[in-house]
Amino acid sequence: MNGTGAANMRDRGVGSGGLLAWFFQRLTGIVLVPILLVHLLTMHRYHEHGLAWEDVTRLMANPYWKVLEITFLVLALYHALNGLYGVIQDYVKHPAWRLAIFSACALAGLTLLAFGLVTVFSIQNPDLIGAAGAVAR
């Protein structure tokens, strides 16, 4: 099969690396459903808890919640950026451009993850640290 100088399908922007992305998009989607529901029912029920800073940070100081939030962050960012990259793949066929955009998506994801991790980790549990270690006011 000869194209205009393309030696193989990869050169035409049709790669074989889509299987994992396809699979993980669905897997992360499935896991995100219960995590999102838990997130909404706890963090966003402000008319019961008032979404007061104290209530949210009390939840966030708990390390088990921290793990849940971090999981949420990682899965949501993966799902979002993988999805975005999938849309881009429909319009961008050139492999070099695809690599550039893929790298940009990966970088954006890691940056956002880092930003979110800072938030999650900066909320500390005063019981573990002691009176002097309360969150800076």
Partner: protein
């Protein structure tokens, strides 16, 4: 990339559009929640801003977008992993029905808060304290 309009095409297209919108929201959300780490005063400022009436419409829109994406996503997963391919149209509309029900539940809660019909005692106490 034009194709004849039919239910499956529209479902796919809306999934893309809602996906992109949610991604943009996610970025915004991470930035907003980041204020949590700056202490109660900053946090209260941001939350008061977001609690203003105009944002109710944005939140209602957001809930609709997320629910659509979730329901359609469930349909896709059922098709891709559970082999529910032939009755897809029925599954799609059933999922949309479920989505509408969930949306009404969420909108009810949201309207209750924004229109001041429900009390938020803890929030009020903290507001007074600050």
């Amino acid at each position: 990339m034009m194709y004849r309009w039919h239910a499956g095409y529209v479902a796919w297209l809306l999934n893309r559009i809602t996906g992109i919108l949610i991604t943009l929201y996610l970025v915004l959300h991470i930035w907003v929640v980041h204020h949590l780490a700056h202490g109660p005063r900053e946090y209260k400022q941001v939350m008061d801003f977001l609690g203003s009436k105009v944002f109710m419409f944005f939140e209602l829109g957001l809930i609709g977008v997320v629910l659509y994406h979730m329901m359609n996503g469930i349909r896709i997963v059922l098709a891709d992993f559970a082999g529910v391919v032939k009755p897809q149209k029925t599954v799609f509309w059933a999922a949309m029905g479920l989505g509408v029900i969930l949306y009404l539940l969420c909108a009810w809660e949201l309207a209750g808060l924004f229109l001041g019909l429900t009390r938020a005692p803890a929030h009020a106490a903290l507001t007074r304290a600050l």
